[in-house]
Amino acid sequence: QGKFTLLRDTRTDGSFLVHHFLSFYLRAGCKVCFVALLQSFSHYSIVAQKLGVSLAAAKERGQLVFLEGLKSCLDLLFGEEEQPGQPSPLQFLSGSSCDLRALFEFVRASLTPSGRDSCTGPVLLVDDLGVLLSLGAAPVAVLDFIHYCRVCVCCQLQGNVVVLVHSNEDSEDEENELVVNSLCHHSDLILWAEGLATGFCKDVHGQIKIIKRLSLRQAAEQDVVQIYQYKIQDRNVTFFARGLSAAVL
């Protein structure tokens, strides 16, 4: 409860972690607010079905609040005049405000319990944060947004926040690296998916570093780092200790 998890990927695609967390929290009965900036609803829906969860059903019963970034953007730019009192969460795109306040308000409104909810802790899931930078939000605005979400979701509502970011060692995208490094310092748990250093392999798709940031809460504690390798299959991801892939044994 009240944890901030950072999903990070380098030289590979870490979106399988997003799918996992989405179906995990929905199955656990949590109220989920999913800010999906990069892909359409049907993409997540189809993958979730393979993992045994129906997003449409969750949406209908109010357990899932889905913000489809692409659709919102189109509605904002091509749609008719917006209704007053219902500002678009992606308000900052039209340039009227340069911060992500509208997005935060959307998150807060969707996760604040309304009384009829029978769900356990709320969860905010974001895929992926780098898109906000590409759309013109300043790094400070993005960090502020995450900070406000943490205060609201983790502290006030005792929920969890899971965010996906991309990073690269020799990246020249300074703004992105700034955001990622800052988030790393404030995370309780970091799941870092990386491509193998030796290059592409058919049987091992990458390695995942699990960093439990115990030093965040307790001054004298050390972070615990575990490293596994993984292989992604159609309906499943298998994890194994390094060097012990099924192809080798």
Binding site: F16, S42, S134, D234
Partner: protein, 297 residues
């Protein structure tokens, strides 16, 4: 100025016959030394050998005007579009990009390509092609300076385009002169916002032109990203080293593979040297057989 499509089957058949002839010759010798390799599949240079897949074009001929006119197509000519002034809401985007997006959106709804439109009996995909996006032809200074005036113009455009494509029956292919874009951060963001990213690197003018490894090819093909849609996994091919070859009538993409090393640096006495040392040997028994070269062991 579009290239003429190859509508007849003869070209494809020629290639097929060639390939068949090559295959039947080779199987006659069985391997004596490297017999363990006998049963391995023959090295396929191109992943789909000579099957008729997709469309073929002859770049030396132009497409006939009748063919062009019989097909429904739309174009976007920047100067014509700028003369209009339709109502534009406050878009925080370069005007030219905004116009292009509006034009695409208009065509999508006109042609009934929206996903939400009712099913018709024949649904074609709307194919969109955008050339040299990000170059000065589109009024963008991303290719000219390290710190462009609006670094997010390209990425914002791509994001809205992505939204339009996801909501309709269309596919878009964009070419970007990446070698001109100095700001690598922008290229990283562009890659993240795209589904599929392929790079072509030509050898012309680079040091690789004279590299004997690449002598058969004209450039490399880099597959930076492949789409991972509606699934946890993506279809990754086995090989990552691809090179392309541009012949008069063919642009082929092949696997880059190393031929056996038969260069002079390998220690192997040439025939001439052997003959020379044999002569020396037969002339006198006591004489040391000093050939033209040292014989290495």
């Amino acid at each position: 100025e579009l290239p003429a499509p190859l509508l007849d089957d003869t070209h494809g058949k020629e290639l097929g016959d060639e390939a068949a002839a090559v295959k039947s010759e080779d199987f006659q010798d069985s391997m004596k030394i490297a017999w363990r390799y006998q049963n391995l599949p023959k090295m396929e240079a191109s992943p789909t050998t000579y099957t008729k897949f997709g469309h073929y074009y002859d770049v030396s001929k132009k497409m006939s005007p009748e063919l062009c006119q019989s097909v429904k197509w739309h174009s976007f000519y920047l100067h014509e579009e700028l003369s209009f002034e339709p109502k534009m809401k406050a878009w925080n985007m370069k005007k030219k990009n905004a116009r292009l997006l509006q034009s695409i959106q208009r065509i999508i709804s006109q042609e009934g390509k929206k996903s939400s439109d009712p099913q018709k009996k024949q649904r074609n995909v709307l194919r969109i092609g955008i050339q040299s996006l990000g170059s000065i032809l589109w009024g963008d200074d991303v290719c000219c300076s390290d710190i462009p005036e609006d670094p997010q113009s390209l990425t914002k455009f791509l994001y809205v385009l992505r939204g339009l494509l996801r909501k309709s029956l269309s596919a878009c292919i964009i070419t970007v002169p990446a070698h001109l874009i100095q700001n690598k951060a922008i290229m990283e963001r562009v890659t993240n916002l795209s589904d599929m990213v392929v790079g072509l690197e030509s050898f012309i003018g680079s040091e690789r032109e004279t590299n004997p490894l690449y002598k058969d090819y004209h450039g490399l093909v880099h597959v930076h990203q492949i789409p991972r849609l509606n699934s946890l996994i993506c279809d990754v091919s086995d090989t990552k080293d691809l090179a392309f070859r541009l012949k008069r009538k063919q642009f082929t993409i092949e696997r880059l593979h190393l031929p056996p090393d038969l260069s002079d640096t390998v220690s192997r006495a040439s025939k001439q040297d052997l003959a020379g040392s044999a002569k020396l040997l037969s002339s006198g028994c006591g004489a040391m057989a000093i050939g033209k070269k040292h014989l290495d062991f």
